[in-house]
Symmetry: C2
Subunit: 180 residues, 2 copies
């Protein structure tokens, strides 16, 4: 939960990006505004209003490094979070809920994959987040029917088994809403 104070002439998202960078060394992630928490008692020390953002990344792309403000950083699975300060557990719950819900109607899952990926990798993202196994044929049918990814023509050869086709997002610039 990296965070900090907004500069007087700083944009909100820029601030979130800066604090993330300063405390973890991580840059270039997808950020989305989550919610603004302003209960007068949420921080007993003083009145704090938190405009919260969440970031998404591929986990293997990240090596958080404690720096300036933070003395220690680490990754935690959402099922085993440590004790959190203030209302930070509520914030994470809300982010998790938002993420799961957007998984169903948007292309947000691609923000957790590298530019080039296989359908099995994509399915794994969904399976981890939804915490259930999906049928491979139906998953592929569904994803491909939405026309949001395309084959690159390349194959991933990484093991003693059949290579997988490598795909990429057709329009990677933004999160698309897939209405159904």
């Amino acid at each position: 939960m990296p965070g900090g104070f907004l500069d007087i002439d700083e944009d909100l998202e820029a601030c979130a990006k800066r604090e993330l960078q300063e405390e973890t060394g991580i840059e270039g992630l997808y950020l989305e505004q989550l919610y603004t928490f302003g209960n007068p008692q949420r921080d007993p020390r003083e009145r704090v209003i938190s405009v919260t953002y969440f970031a998404l990344s591929q986990s293997d792309h990240l090596m958080p490094k404690a720096s300036s403000d933070a003395t220690q950083t680490a990754w935690f699975p959402i099922s085993h979070l440590p004790e959190l300060a203030f209302d930070h557990a509520t914030i994470i719950q809300l982010a998790w809920k938002r993420l799961l819900s957007k998984l169903g109607y948007s292309t947000i899952a691609f923000k957790m994959l590298p530019k080039y990926f296989t359908l099995s990798q994509l399915q794994t993202v969904y399976e981890i987040l939804l915490n259930e196994n999906l049928d491979k044929r139906n998953f592929r049918k569904g994803i491909l029917a939405r026309n949001i990814i395309k084959e690159t023509g390349e194959y991933s050869r990484n093991g003693s088994h059949r290579p997988a086709k490598i795909y990429q997002v057709i329009n990677p610039s933004q999160i698309e809403i897939i209405k159904r």
Copy 2:
């Protein structure tokens, strides 16, 4: 677009409610946090961060009255808004988008109806917001299949025609997410 400054020990939603009341005399509405706007240039006079909320009501239940802060108040159809200050047009656009999208997967439409209502009234809410005509039989089938409203046993007699069954929401306390 009623609004104003947060008191130092005031909750965000309480502030929105208070400002709405102070400027329009309107109370008791459904409020939902929309987004927080914080671009440093959005108000040229000074740095202002706006935690925005939208409210929903039945239109015939509201008589906005200008008071303390506001010199004038009036209703405007979203298709014919007057010139708006700062980024207020953007804010309204976002609220409209949120409303339309929630219409599809939640019970938000009921916040625009009185406690007791007929299916025709409900359908009218959807038709106005979606700006299209819906098939009566399919609409009713769909709504009733979701099991979110129930008959009261009463009928509305208000014209020289067959009376309509009066319905109410089964669980009016909250906006429910209807996953499909």
